[in-house]
């Protein structure tokens, strides 16, 4: 069919407008490192497609309805000497039409919604990496039961493998949210009698290597805002070597026991021995598991497992860069660094203890 120049012009204008909006939305996303608008996994791409469907319908409805409203405001404004307008009380045909049209539009949103619900809320179709996520005030614990890894705050996963999270909480409600990779799920406190009922699943397959920011999304107390997290997507080989490193002294591998060779190497290293002494005498061991200590194999302690702190990029639940000076500052004044956190020093640490601890924690990567 031959189209009139006017129609072609309008069609192009519409396309350009829509494209402009798309560029605006995507362009604005470049500087955002926790955005939902640049999905990087299978599940967030499904969600994003659905969301964009609703956005386009919303734009259409917005333009038409607000357009009609604004048109009426200009067209029917009163002028001096206006006669009384016709006293219409309604129009059944029109009213039926504007009841049916929204219903039809909603059907166009409802059908993809239900399809996406089915795709996203069923159990992981093909789980390849299992991780248990445990929310604590105000940090995240990750356990890889099959790989024998226990770590905190930074979830490390291989690219292209379906990661299956099973999540619960050790205290109050939290919500684990990784906007680019996995959307969010609330996590609920479980005790023995509710163990199976309240474990919430979430799965995703990351499609690009990188660091992704996220954080707790359910109010969980004073430091809710700083219950950050990070998902580090590595290539498969990098992930393998990370797992190999993390397995050393993990509570899930022989209860935290390490090979005799490693143990004697540590005992010969003054950084390790001095640090460990400070770790014991400073009271750290009351809440933290650590390689080489008697409680290396402990699970369910109050604070995060510190065995491989040196290998993490941040401390304080994605709050500070993991540098020697930040770590020292944290040990000097945890309440000043994160007010209200459950980390309370039994006694102030000496500067000598702090530097020994910093070296010790950084040594174990």
């Amino acid at each position: 069919m031959e189209r009139s120049p006017g129609r072609v012009w309008r069609a192009w204008l519409t396309r350009a407008g829509l494209l402009g909006l798309l560029v605006l939305i995507a362009g604005c996303s470049q500087n955002y490192h926790q955005t939902t608008l640049l999905p990087r996994s299978d599940i967030t791409r499904l969600i994003d497609d659905l969301f964009m469907t609703t956005v386009w319908w919303a734009v259409v409805v917005f333009v038409l309805v607000e357009g009609a409203l604004v048109y009426a405001l200009f067209r029917f404004r009163s002028r001096p000497g206006d006669p009384e307008p016709e006293q219409t009380h309604g129009n059944t045909t029109v009213e039926i039409i504007w009841t049916v049209i929204p219903a039809v539009i909603l059907a166009f949103i409802a059908v993809p919604t239900v399809k996406t619900i089915v795709k996203t809320s069923l159990p992981a179709p093909n789980p390849q990496v299992d991780v248990e996520v445990i929310g604590h005030q105000w940090w995240w614990e990750y356990r890889y039961p099959k790989l024998g890894v226990v770590t905190a705050n930074e979830l490390v996963v291989p690219v292209g493998k379906m990661v299956n999270l099973r999540m619960w909480s050790a205290d109050v409600l939290h919500s684990w949210w990784s906007p680019q990779l996995a959307s969010k799920r609330d996590v609920f406190p479980i005790f023995n009698n509710t163990r199976d009922k309240k474990i919430n699943p979430l799965w995703f397959t990351a499609d690009s290597v990188g660091d992704y920011s996220g954080q707790c999304a359910e109010l969980c107390g004073i430091q809710h805002a700083r219950m950050g997290l990070r998902v580090i997507v590595k290539s498969e080989a990098d992930f393998e070597s990370w797992v190999a490193k993390e397995r050393v002294g993990s509570p899930l591998v022989e209860g935290g026991k390490v090979a005799a060779a490693i143990d004697s190497a540590w005992k010969a290293d003054t950084v390790h021995t001095k640090g460990q002494a400070a770790f014991m005498s400073g009271g750290c061991i009351a809440c933290h598991a650590m390689v080489g200590t008697p409680l290396a194999g402990a699970l369910n302690l109050r604070g995060p497992n510190l065995s491989h702190t040196g290998g993490r990029t941040t401390i304080g639940a994605n709050m500070y860069e993991n540098t020697p000076s930040m770590l020292a500052q944290w040990l000097r004044d945890p309440q000043g660094m994160k007010q209200g956190s459950h980390m309370v020093l039994p006694r102030p640490l000496t500067e000598a203890e702090i530097s020994a601890l910093v070296a010790y924690l950084r040594m174990h990567q």
Binding site: Y32, T54, A58, F76, S78, G90, T194, N200
Partner: protein, 623 residues
């Protein structure tokens, strides 16, 4: 009808109550004075809630804000939400219910005038009670939604840094119960009033739309508040008596709190917005010189919204992981609500269409409400979709959504009502120039503050965070929002200036400055105590326009009459006394964990309450 009571000759009862001055306000049972008390109180709390919001905006103007402590910030957003909902928008609606339901249905008062006074005093004392928490340094900090088990106290092992829970949440749990009693009593009163006291000829389908929407709101209040009350009592018992309704370690379930809370919480949204819908449905026709388009459709869409509104609560809980069936049900039910809401918006546009529009301040606010509510409605459909909601819930996207609905919707609607009805209430017309400046600044400030929140939420900024780190790209939009908040502050300062200026001017408003359609415009401004010297007869939903047409286009200014032979209820101290007794009784529950003999105060408050109710029951009722 109660006309039999109202029309017989008053017995001559001597009474010692003053007619003017301070004590006349303390003892008043006049629905108009109680309305004004509601309005003044609610406006003060609205300003307090606004100050809380401004402090939060200042904290968030840049990353790593240090203006307030994290726990202070948690208290600010908890109290901002609680204040705006329970102490701001709901009582501002009650302001208009009180003043205009009797006037619009042609009645001389509500059915239970002293119960009406009791509702106000309980509301006032509850509002003060919950804000006293700031003075004793224990403001509620668990969010306006108070999710268990964060609020259940014994869950969290205490440390030196985070000691055993204080009274913060107790203020909230008990304060909301007190406010709930006020709301239920008031709802019952208005419900019965609308059923029984309509003027002859005013069938249900001739009621003004504001009365209709108010009627629906009373039903919602009566059905929703008992649910939150039960939930609050459970939570109180978990906190004080070692029960485990919401405690997983005792076999309870924190998700049950969420279900109970939102079975109340979602209808509460309609409790907040339907009065504004009603006001817009009054204002738009009057300033379009056309009756409301599709009256019947407006009534039934309101009824439908309210009814289905009880079946969508779990859309607040998609992130809890309810499974595909529940997600689908609550998603589709929520989308269905968009249809009657759309019908309302189209009918408002239909009312404007073909009319002769006068852009008074009231009209601007009403049109602004329609325009802004559309935005909130569209974002609402977006997170009615559970997978999309998994990215949006608990983020600033939701904050944007409900501020378009509750600020753009409710507050704009209430502001329209204030400008429209001010001359009727106070006999003075608000200044239109200042009013228009108020409107435009509010409109601009509102969009500056809340529109960028859509983007912030989609870019990953969660709600209820006392700060955010640099590097996530949140800085610029947060700055814009803080600027917007100050534009809103400026707008409401102008409103206050307008009120003061009007107050100092002469009370010379005519009975009907707008050419209104409903009965309140047929009597002098402000109305006399008895409202109508003779009960009006009603033949349509626009009785005043009927009278105007019958009179050939010109109605004489109504004259004030002595009204000596009109039987009106006596003023009374006992509603206030009963409210004080109730507040003492409820306050004693704060001491359960603090003092072994807390129940002594409970008994004292109960005795006070019963004595007051006894005196109330045997007091002479009319003059």
């Amino acid at each position: 009808m109660a006309t039999s009571v109202l029309e017989h000759k008053a017995p001559a009862i001597p009474h010692h109550y003053p007619k003017t001055g301070f004590w006349s306000w303390i003892t008043t049972v006049d629905h108009k004075r109680i309305g004004i008390l509601y309005g003044a109180t609610a406006f003060i709390f609205f300003l307090i809630g606004g100050i809380e919001a401004v402090i939060m905006r200042l904290q968030l103007i840049g990353p790593n804000g240090k203006l307030v402590d994290p726990d202070t910030f948690n208290a600010l957003f908890t109290m901002h939400g609680t204040t705006m909902i329970f102490l701001g928008v709901m009582p501002l609606s009650a302001f208009f219910f009180n003043f205009f339901i009797p006037l619009q249905i042609g009645a001389r008062d509500v059915v239970f005038p002293r119960l009406n006074a009791f509702s106000y005093w309980v509301f006032l004392l509850g509002a003060i009670f919950i804000n006293v928490s700031f003075l004793v340094g224990a403001p509620p900090d668990g969010g306006w939604f108070g999710y268990a088990n964060l609020t259940s106290a014994r869950m969290i092992p205490s440390t030196a840094a985070a000691p055993a829970p204080g009274l913060n949440i107790d203020f909230w749990v008990i304060g909301l119960q007190i406010l709930g009693i006020a709301s239920i009593a008031a709802a019952l009163n208005f419900f019965v009033t609308i059923i029984n006291l309509r003027a002859p000829g005013m069938t249900l389908l001739r009621m003004p739309m504001f009365v209709w929407m108010s009627f629906i709101v009373q039903i919602l209040l009566l059905l929703a508040f008992p649910v939150i009350t039960v939930a609050l009592v459970f939570l109180m018992m978990d906190r004080n008596f070692g029960t485990s309704f919401f405690m997983p370690d005792g076999g309870g379930d924190p998700v049950m709190w969420q279900h109970l809370f939102w079975i109340f919480g979602h209808p509460e949204v309609y409790i907040l917005i339907l009065p504004a819908f009603g006001i817009a449905s009054e204002v738009l026709p009057v300033f379009s010189r056309k009756p409301l388009f599709g009256y019947t459709a407006m009534v039934f869409s309101g009824v439908f919204i309210a009814f289905v509104g009880f079946g969508v609560w779990s859309h607040h809980m998609f992130a809890t992981g309810m499974g595909p069936f529940a997600d689908t049900f609550f998603s589709l039910a929520t989308m269905v609500i968009a249809i009657p809401t759309g019908v309302k918006i189209f009918n408002w546009i239909g009312t404007l269409w073909g009319g002769s529009l006068r852009f008074t301040t009231a009209m601007l606010f009403a049109v602004g409400m329609v325009a802004l509510f559309i935005v909130g409605g569209l974002s609402g459909v977006m997170h009615a979709s559970p997978p999309a909601d998994l990215q949006q819930t608990d983020t600033y996207f939701i904050v944007a959504h409900f501020h378009y609905v509750l600020f753009g919707g409710s507050i704009f609607g209430l502001a329209a009502g204030a400008y429209y009805w001010w001359p009727k209430i106070f006999g003075r017309l608000l200044d239109e120039k200042l009013g228009k400046a108020h409107f435009w600044l509010t409109f601009i400030g509102m969009n500056l503050t809340f529109f960028p929140m859509h983007y912030l939420g989609l870019h990953g900024m969660p709600r209820r965070v006392y700060t955010y780190p640099e590097g996530l790209g949140f800085e610029f939009l947060n700055q814009v929002e803080t600027v917007g908040a100050f534009v809103i502050v400026l707008a409401f300062l102008l409103f206050i200036v307008n009120i003061i200026k009007t107050w100092m001017g002469p009370a010379n408003a005519p009975a009907d400055p707008w050419h209104g359609a409903t009965l309140e415009w047929s009597i002098p401004s402000p109305p006399q105590e008895f409202n109508f010297p003779n009960l009006p007869r009603v033949g349509s939903s626009v009785p005043q326009w009927d009278a105007w047409r019958a009179a050939g286009g010109k109605l004489p200014e109504p004259v004030r009459v002595s009204g000596d032979d009109i039987h009106m209820p006596n003023p009374s101290y006992w509603p206030l006394m009963a409210a004080i007794g109730l507040t003492i009784l409820m306050s004693s529950l704060m001491l359960i964990r603090q003092w072994d003999y807390w129940y002594a105060i409970t008994l004292f408050g109960t005795a006070w309450l019963f004595f007051s109710v006894y005196r109330w029951a045997f007091e002479p009722t009319g003059h």
